[in-house]
Subunit: 343 residues, 3 copies
């Protein structure tokens, strides 16, 4: 058969390195589409002059564009037969991505655990995105539950990687030259700086965006993520098209501008759960909670650790989890990340 | 509170200057999206070679891209709590915008009048868009009705700015170097030149475009206009999302190619009313009326003043206003502008 | 009347040359939108580095972008009053199109045949697309049935052009410098090379994409194709908007990546039929059949002739045509083209 049927659980082995296909050169087109699909307004990603005043050569593409492009390439090899996308850890942005850069992705299998039912298992991979100079721009761990094709295939030795609950601030990579000493809070859109946020503080981002079918498909295709659950209305019995979890991440992050306009650059992804599926017609809202704060060695640059929660309906005051310990059915995303903010 | 709750009527004062946030670098991405969202075909904005043959360095971004970007930045400061967008006047395009330019906006409060009910008032601002060289690219006056937050706040002294009913032709700024002496009517798409249009002539632009929810949201976000009425289906009791008035302006202007293909550059905005709200599913049509004509000092370049009316359903022959003096409910837009046309 | 009412059958004459309006400069914006609208993943059109490793200066815009742009310009002159788009022949891609190129189109009338009912006729044109250096980038023949406006106009002499059933491999133009000797199959996404495909082989491309109204309008406008049947929901009694046939071509070609990832460049269009209309909500699937194979003079480059069939519902095993010799109502497209593949 000429078509790709994807890898099954028994096709993975510890130490296996998978070079993912279809490198991608990005341009102002991807940048403009990102701004058209999400209410993204962080000034560093909108203006060359603002980025230059912050010590960068020009405005990079949004950090989540880098993430989606790198992630999208892994789908045909990692998650085509995935039953569930279980988690992320140890994600680090290592270098900004600019127009004209070409991204490709490589994954290494770092964990395997067959489920007790013998029909599926969990695969952990560490994925690295590289640019055209073979410089790493991003790496992260994710784990997925994958079906077995041959249920009689022997179970691999169980290897569960040791993953940090969260990156420590000292492990974050600050982009070379970044300098917020001359930061223009007026042009950035909000006056609140690093010192104005307290650990434990919650910020309701107020706005909501109702998601259209055409929009999430346009977004997801842009990252060359072609998982059929997103595109084929005949794939599920209820005729619904599942929205790529990354679409919700980008929507929530963009909404968080309102209250966190100065949390400019994403540099670390500590963890994340796609708590419930999102469908067209859902109105996505978001709130953030400050989890931690740390100084960095870059001039005027602090690191802030944020929990970003996206939900539909209801109010941010609802319980994130139910009494049974499961996510409230209105919660879509529970993301834990580090961003850089002027001090 | 960290989030922006917008300014209320009592927060404005005559002479106040507001620097709007989030400067924006534009590229070929914004241009391509504009052509994907509107049936825009004016050759000067489509082809570098056509623009060069007209004396420009290359094809500028559509004049309405400049308008939308500059306008979008003002929304969080001017119209977040606006009850109504009441009008435009004295709009002038001062310099073409090219790929790579970075736009920012500044507004000055030039008029204030509290309503007799004491609960809201009208605010007039003159907004100027600047590029990265601090050159003005566009300025215009608009006025909005804004709610008071504290109804007990004292009424400001009433100042109603004196605004021209229409710009005079001598006040229009012709882009440096513009020259239509060698204008190629075949490549432009129509043979009709300046002399072929008579004052009072009406042109039915024939075509209609049915607006999709995804499209107007993509367009409006592209201009970083994040007013919730456009994006959040839960915001109104009827579940409808109000379409950004600028989307209707761009749609009508693009439709006007058919009959006005040579009305290439927009240089003046005399006035405009968003006569009735537009919603997804509406089929937008347009007609134009020639209001005035004038010579300019640039070679082969005439100025034509046009009334552009967008409407849904019905025929262009309907009465623009009802006997009671209100707009016919099918009228969406009544715009008065100056464009440049080969003589 | 100032608006374009299009040409009618009696307005065409053999040998007539029509210069189509509105040249178009393309950028990374068109490229990004193409990837956002179709699940296009052919590596040569995604990565500058992959294209350079194949002997090109950088990644060209997708061959079908060139086709759609050139085709779109012809619509106001050729198919505004067309009753049906009957066929294509002898299409050849002559030169890759890169960001920054400006495309324009010229058509010559090469055939005319009035229908026996005297109310319409068939017009054959050969259309050539040129870049800003007046180099031909694409040419193809298409024929359409066009209404007469004046049914009393005399019938022209019947001229039916002699058209090849298919281009011969020797007539294909291989892009200058193309070299697949160092082709990276891993980055391209599939291991199957020229020798792995047999004439008569059929490949089910597996995936399906449900088409949204907003998407096909965004795509069709991007090519400045403004035929009202695509955009105006009030145009047909059933309220449906007909999808531009080229949208189905691009969707099917992109789906064919899965199984034909190495059929990189399209160089010849032998024929094509839009078998049945496509509407929003249809889920498009595709299969390919290998019709022919040939060597080329370029290093490591073979030519493969493919029949690409797009259909909705059902399975690829259905009869392409019914017993009555008509296309099965689920068939949307039957396209015959040549592509280049590493040997």
């Amino acid at each position: 058969m000429k078509t790709n049927s994807g890898r099954f659980f028994e096709d993975y082995a510890i130490g296996q390195v998978i070079e993912h296909a279809v490198p991608r050169t990005v341009s102002g087109g991807e940048r403009a589409l990102y701004h058209a699909l999400y209410p993204a307004r962080h000034a560093l990603y909108s203006s060359d002059e603002f980025a230059q005043a912050s010590g960068l050569e020009k405005s990079p593409l949004d950090d989540l564009i880098a993430f989606h492009v790198v992630f999208g390439k892994t789908v045909p090899d990692i998650s085509l037969n995935a039953v569930a996308n279980l988690g992320y850890a140890e994600g680090r942005w290592l270098r900004p991505v600019f127009e004209g850069d070409t991204l490709r992705s490589v994954s290494e299998v770092i964990g395997l655990k067959q489920n007790s039912n013998g029909k599926s298992g969990v695969v952990w991979v560490r994925t690295t995105g590289f640019n055209q100079y073979d410089e790493a721009v991003l790496d992260y761990v994710r784990w997925v539950m994958v079906r077995k094709h041959n249920v009689d295939a022997p179970a691999p030795e169980t290897v569960i990687p040791v993953l940090a609950d969260a990156l420590e601030a000292k492990d974050l990579v600050i982009p070379e030259g970044l300098d917020f000493a001359q930061y223009n809070f007026t042009l950035a859109g909000e006056a609140h700086r690093f010192g104005d946020y307290g650990v434990g503080e919650k910020i309701d981002h107020v706005d909501g965006v109702t998601i259209e079918q055409a929009e999430h498909m346009i977004a997801t295709r842009l990252w060359q993520n072609t998982a059929k659950v997103h595109f084929d209305a005949t794939n599920r019995e209820d005729g619904k098209q599942l929205i790529y979890g990354g679409h919700v991440i980008s929507m929530a992050r963009a909404l968080s501008f309102n209250g966190l306009a100065n949390a400019q650059m994403i540099v670390g992804l500590n963890g994340g759960a796609h708590a419930n599926p999102c469908f067209a017609g859902d109105t996505v809202r978001a709130y953030s909670e400050v989890l931690d704060k740390a100084q960095t060695s870059a001039p005027g640059v602090g690191a802030i650790r944020l929990r970003l929660v996206a939900y539909k309906h209801g109010a941010p005051e609802f319980a994130l989890k139910t009494d049974a310990g499961k996510y409230h059915p209105d919660v879509l995303l529970d993301l834990d990340y580090w961003a850089l903010m002027p001090t």
